[in-house]
């Protein structure tokens, strides 16, 4: 068992990093009732670079030496055991050297040696983003300094509409976080020889790249536990304007890929299993079973299909997944369902490509390259928990990579790139834990946390300890969290216990962190809270000729109706008949307000059906469409044709109105979940759901007898040809008297010899 020791709550440090997480980009999807929905709002201040530096300053210096061995991003070397690392007073100096050194090493394309001196720092930044405008270059330095100098006051929140999701963050900080942060700042300043140089350097670093890692552990209503890892790497480089030469934390493979192919946004998810929305609630980030890839290309890309093909092939190599099977037969261009999540000027959907490979099996060989993209690999930080043998021994496993452009700062004059790597696992602790719902990190991952990734600005573990049914808390978390914070996530009030791995006090008493959760008394699992929106899908019908796909969409909201965008992609070998499409809600026909249908073409294009459907309050909407199964050529079948063919999940995108009024409650920046899909205003939140993939059997020919079939059919044709040829070329004649065959003549010759009369 891991070392588990109870520790004093350490709220003081916990507050400040929580501030840092407000630095979230906000591409904001918005569903307009007209149908062409989710509009990104580019002008949104995506990334308020609030002062993570402050916090980091305190932590960085505590273990400067440990950073030294890790330079190469892809192959992190062994990590010295945590603990009594040199906590020298000249930590800042060491850290500075380190920064310079790592930058030098990281700059693989050799843009000249970077001087480690403080004076060159600015110019290094310039080189990092050579093409960016002068404003972008000059901006960050100047206005920041007052804040840095006085590390207490909140950031000026830029005036904007719908300020509720991130706006309140700074306000809250004034009241709670400020004293502690100031204290840390003072402490840091005093601990250092150069108090003034520290913040400047820290700022510079933050401008360059930033890594934040988070782990969210949430017990699910039915006893399972979901663990969601999220690693965010920010890269302040302007990919699209040409020569990008500087890779530090951002993986070079992906960066160069995005630059070379003109990728504006890339979302790749590899998933094993199915997220049971009904039983598990709304996921932080759901993905369909198999592999999902959707990409927005830059408007400068001329041949999108070619770039898409190339991209999927390269990604297939990077992630060891069969993404190279993405071709025109499973690629679609949705018009409404997928909108850019990052900054975007236009949403010309011709630049979008979307493909799902529902058959893809995700396993260790996909996890390893994914882990290699992390700056710390799996050697330090939260990633030590990512042990393949445990991760794949779970009910649901989903790993994703999202790349998108975000605002570099509040004024949004320059673009940064964000790589967000997420991994969600659902452990069935109930069955593996002898019927108990208690769990611990060690039980789930057979590892415990020992330290934060040294490159990370933020490293936190969140445990969802929301009280159910407004009762007293039924569960107990050990060790005591560094802080507790509340947030409204997806229309639900949640309470999180927060462990800040960067706070030194967490590891004071024990060397490792093993979060444990115990239920105080057996929970009555009689009623599961059903999510507001969930869906299920099935194939009905009998025989191999025709069938019907039915999708049931539930809106359990007591009084609000809301629209849902449904996207169906059906392979060409199921011939959909769109005239059989029926949408029935509460016994009445429900006319979709927007419908886009692109019929399939044999062996070239799948069916694409997008609809905007209004869901009345507390209703079930049934959507059925009939199809016919095609007989394929025998070479087009998979090696196991009688297993069936997968139909990828349909995608539901909706702005779900929240049951709890969110307007009045300050939405403190919460961990992961102000994530890719922020809500547009306080009263609703964005949800993207995937239904079950379907398995459809097709009629199969007999694979063993191509030769027989060719022979037999050709024989029939030959019979026809022969008989007609016979009749066409010959004419009737009276049979001539037969002089007998050879045998008869031979016999007659012999008979003549013998003197016998011939036959």
């Amino acid at each position: 068992m891991a070392v588990q020791r109870r520790r004093e709550p350490h709220g003081a440090v916990g507050q400040c990093p929580a501030v840092a997480a407000a630095c979230l980009p906000l591409g904001r999807p918005r569903l307009s009732a007209g149908g062409s929905s989710v509009l990104p709002d580019g002008s949104e201040p995506g990334d308020r670079r609030c002062p993570p530096e402050r916090k980091r300053r305190g932590v960085r210096e505590s273990r400067p030496r440990r950073e030294e061995p890790r330079r190469g991003r892809h192959s992190p070397r062994g990590i010295p055991t945590r603990g009594k690392a040199v906590r020298g007073t000249n930590g800042a100096q060491a850290a500075r050297e380190l920064r310079g050194g790592s930058a030098r090493n990281g700059r693989r394309s050799g843009a000249g040696a970077a001087a480690a001196g403080a004076g060159t720092a600015g110019s290094r930044r310039h080189r990092g983003a050579p093409g960016s405008g002068a404003a972008a270059r000059s901006r960050p330095a100047a206005p920041r300094s007052p804040e840095e100098a006085a590390p207490g006051p909140p950031l000026p929140s830029p005036p904007r509409a719908g300020a509720s999701e991130a706006g309140p963050g700074p306000r809250l900080r004034v009241s709670t976080a400020t004293p502690e942060a100031a204290a840390i700042g003072r402490e840091a300043g005093s601990g250092r020889a150069l108090g003034a140089a520290g913040p400047a350097r820290a700022r510079r670093d933050a401008l360059q790249d930033a890594l934040r890692e988070e782990l969210l552990l949430s017990p699910l209503p039915d006893g399972d536990v979901a663990a969601t890892f999220q690693f965010r790497t920010r890269w302040d480089a302007d990919l699209q304007r040409g020569a990008v030469s500087h890779y530090r934390l951002f993986p070079k493979a992906l960066g160069r890929l995005a630059a070379a192919l003109g990728v504006r946004e890339l979302h790749l998810a590899l998933t094993q299993g199915f997220w049971r929305t009904r039983a598990w609630g709304q996921p932080p980030l759901q993905a369909p079973a198999g592999a999902e890839l959707w990409v927005w290309f830059q408007p400068t890309v001329t041949d999108v299909d070619k770039a898409w093909k190339e991209l999927s092939n390269i990604l297939s190599g990077i992630f060891c997944a069969s993404l190279n099977f993405i071709d025109s037969t499973n690629t679609v261009t949705p018009t409404a369902s997928f909108k850019p999540l990052g900054l975007a000027n236009g949403t010309d959907h011709r630049l979008l490509r979307y493909a799902v490979l529902p058959r893809e099996v995700v396993c260790t060989e996909n996890l390893t390259p994914w882990k290699k993209l992390l700056p710390c690999g799996s050697k330090a930080g939260l990633a030590v928990l990512l042990k393949a043998e445990r991760l794949f021994h779970s009910s649901y496993h989903s790993q994703a990579v999202h790349i998108r452009p975000i605002c570099r700062d509040a004024s949004c004059l320059a673009v940064s790139w964000e790589l967000r790597q997420t991994l969600t696992v659902v452990f069935d602790t109930f069955s593996s834990g002898q019927g108990k719902k208690d769990w611990s990190l060690f039980k789930m991952f057979s590892r415990t946390l020992t330290d934060a990734c040294p490159l990370a600005l933020q490293s936190k573990v969140y445990v969802d300890i929301s009280p159910k049914n407004k009762e007293k808390e039924l569960l107990e978390v050990t060790p005591a969290p560094t802080s507790v914070h509340e947030a409204i996530v997806q229309g639900d009030k949640r309470t999180y216990a927060v462990y800040d791995l960067l706070s030194p006090s967490l590891f004071n008493t024990s060397r490792s962190l093993n979060v444990q959760l115990k239920w105080k008394r057996p929970q009555d699992s009689s009623e599961l809270p059903t999510p507001v929106l969930h869906a299920q899908r099935y194939v009905s019908g009998y025989g191999l000729q025709a069938g019907e796909i039915s999708t049931l969409i539930y809106n359990t909201h007591p009084y609000r109706a809301f629209p849902v965008l449904l996207l169906e992609t059906v392979p060409w070998y199921l011939r959909l008949y769109v005239h059989t499409l029926t949408i029935i809600t509460k016994g009445k026909e429900n006319k979709p307000s927007y419908i886009h249908y692109q019929p399939a073409q044999d062996r070239r294009r799948p069916h694409l059906l997008e609809m905007l459907i209004q869901l009345p309050a507390s209703s079930v909407t049934k959507i059925t469409i009939q199809f016919e199964r095609a007989l394929l050529k025998w070479t087009e079948y998979t090696p196991d044709p009688n297993h069936g063919f997968y139909v990828s999940s349909s995608v539901l995108s909706a702005l779900v109105p929240s049951v709890i009024a969110m307007k009045d409650v300050d939405m403190e920046q919460s961990p992961l979940f102000t994530s890719l899909f922020p809500s547009s205003d306080g009263s609703s939140y964005f949800v993207r759901l995937y239904t079950e993939p379907l398995l459809v059997n097709l009629p199969t020919p007999d694979f063993s007898m191509p030769y027989n079939v060719i022979c037999l059919t050709c024989t029939v044709v030959a019979v026809c040809y022969g008989s007609f040829y016979n009749l066409l070329t010959r004419t009737f004649h009276v049979e001539e008297p037969n002089r007998g065959g050879l045998a008869k003549r031979l016999a007659n010759v012999i008979r003549r010899f013998r003197g016998v009369p011939p036959l």
Partner: protein, 392 residues
């Protein structure tokens, strides 16, 4: 068709997908008639039957006249009285043809299934009627329509031309000027009407999408859904790199019998027409039972050939048994899962062999009767014994 209409209503070009392969005129026809689809199909069937009735009635008159002429000219052998068709026999033939078409289970099936094949049949029936009535213009128009519908009736150009030439008493000789003149006239009529129809459909849809979607679909056989033809399983099992070659080989079957048949049967264009329709229905890429029904309707016309058919009993048994086994084996394969595709394939194969042998049997009988008519029924050898007739 309904799907095509639904797509049209959605504002999507019906030809952008792979589900709809009918011609634009059909889709616009049904745009107005879709409410009464059952009625429309019944009416088309009745129209087909009426057209066939009138056509055969006229044809009988022509045959009778020709027979009379030949008898008067003493072209027939003396002892063929029993081979000559009497007006008594011929009186009921048109009625039989119409009933054969209407009461054929195949026709009923395709009507119930609302197959657009019924419309093709009607067009072809009107084409036959126009040809036999001697109206070159209407014949060309209907032939163009039929070609536009399913491409294969192109081959009916030859018998129609032969018949019309015969009616005009123009000798069929490559050297004669009037022969070429008339041929050019007819071909020009045909091509013009085809052009007009295609342009009309272009203006209806404002795109040429329908050309690859309709004719490309017919010619390249991308849809391998099981039917009663030879194509589907063959191309499902075909090796990829041979498939183009075999598509060509199979498609050519419809067309390449036309010229030799035209030479052999230049005196009998209606029989030629019958053989050609049968060949189309056997070798077309997506045959349906409606096609089979059309040529089977002609069988009563050739009832006088009955005594020369060699194995009509076996063949009719084969066809009937196959027709009964189609649904059974289909059910076993698709629904019950207790048989595999080979069962159904075997029955299509047998059915097609049956059809081929039936047609060639009729062809044989026809040729043999012609021979007897000119050479006498009782052939004797030089030595006076009964002679056998052989093909040489």
């Amino acid at each position: 068709v309904v799907e095509g209409l639904a797509l049209l209503d959605l504002g999507v070009s019906p030809y952008s997908g792979a589900v709809f392969h009918e011609t634009p005129l059909i889709i616009y026809l049904f745009h107005f008639l879709t409410e009464y689809a059952e009625l429309v199909f019944m009416i088309t069937d009745v129209l087909t039957a009426v057209a066939l009735y009138l056509a055969i009635q006229d044809f009988n008159k022509v045959v009778f006249k020709k027979q009379k002429l030949l008898i008067e000219l003493d072209k027939y052998a003396p002892d063929v009285a029993e081979l000559i068709q009497t007006p008594m026999e011929m009186h009921y033939i048109p009625l039989k043809v119409a009933l054969f078409y209407l009461l054929n289970p195949y026709t009923v099936l395709s009507c119930v299934a609302k197959s657009t094949c019924a419309i093709n049949n009607t067009v072809i029936a009107f084409f036959i009627l126009a040809t036999i009535k001697g109206s070159a213009f209407l014949s060309a128009v209907f032939l163009a329509l039929a070609t536009y519908q399913s491409l294969y009736p192109l081959t009916l150009f030859a018998p129609a031309l032969l018949y019309l030439l015969q009616r005009q008493f123009i000798p069929i000789k490559p050297k004669s000027k009037s022969f070429w003149l008339y041929t050019m006239q007819y071909a020009a009529l045909y091509l013009c009407s085809l052009l007009v129809i295609i342009c009309l459909s272009f203006f209806l849809l404002n795109s040429w999408d329908f050309i690859p979607s309709v004719y490309g679909f017919i010619l390249s056989v991308p849809d391998l859904t099981p039917n009663i033809g030879l194509f589907w399983y063959f191309f499902a099992e075909m090796f990829e790199h041979f498939s183009l070659f075999f598509v060509c080989v199979f498609q050519i079957n419809v067309f390449f019998y036309t010229v030799p048949l035209a030479i052999k049967l230049k005196e009998h264009p209606v029989f030629f027409m019958f053989i050609q329709i049968a060949i189309i229905s056997i070798f077309k890429s997506y045959p349906t039972v409606g096609d089979v029904a059309l040529y089977m309707a002609f069988l009563p016309v050739w009832s006088h050939l009955y005594r020369f058919l060699r194995n009509i009993f076996i063949l009719s048994c084969v066809l009937i048994v196959c027709s009964l086994l189609f649904p059974v084996l289909w059910h076993l394969w698709i629904y019950a899962g207790s048989a595999n595709s080979n069962f159904y394939y075997a029955i299509t194969l047998t059915f097609n062999v049956g059809q081929i042998l039936l047609v060639s049997d009729y062809f044989y009988a026809f040729l043999r009767r012609e021979y007897y008519l000119t050479h006498g029924l009782h052939l004797t050898r030089p030595d006076g014994t009964e002679a056998m007739l052989v093909l040489k």
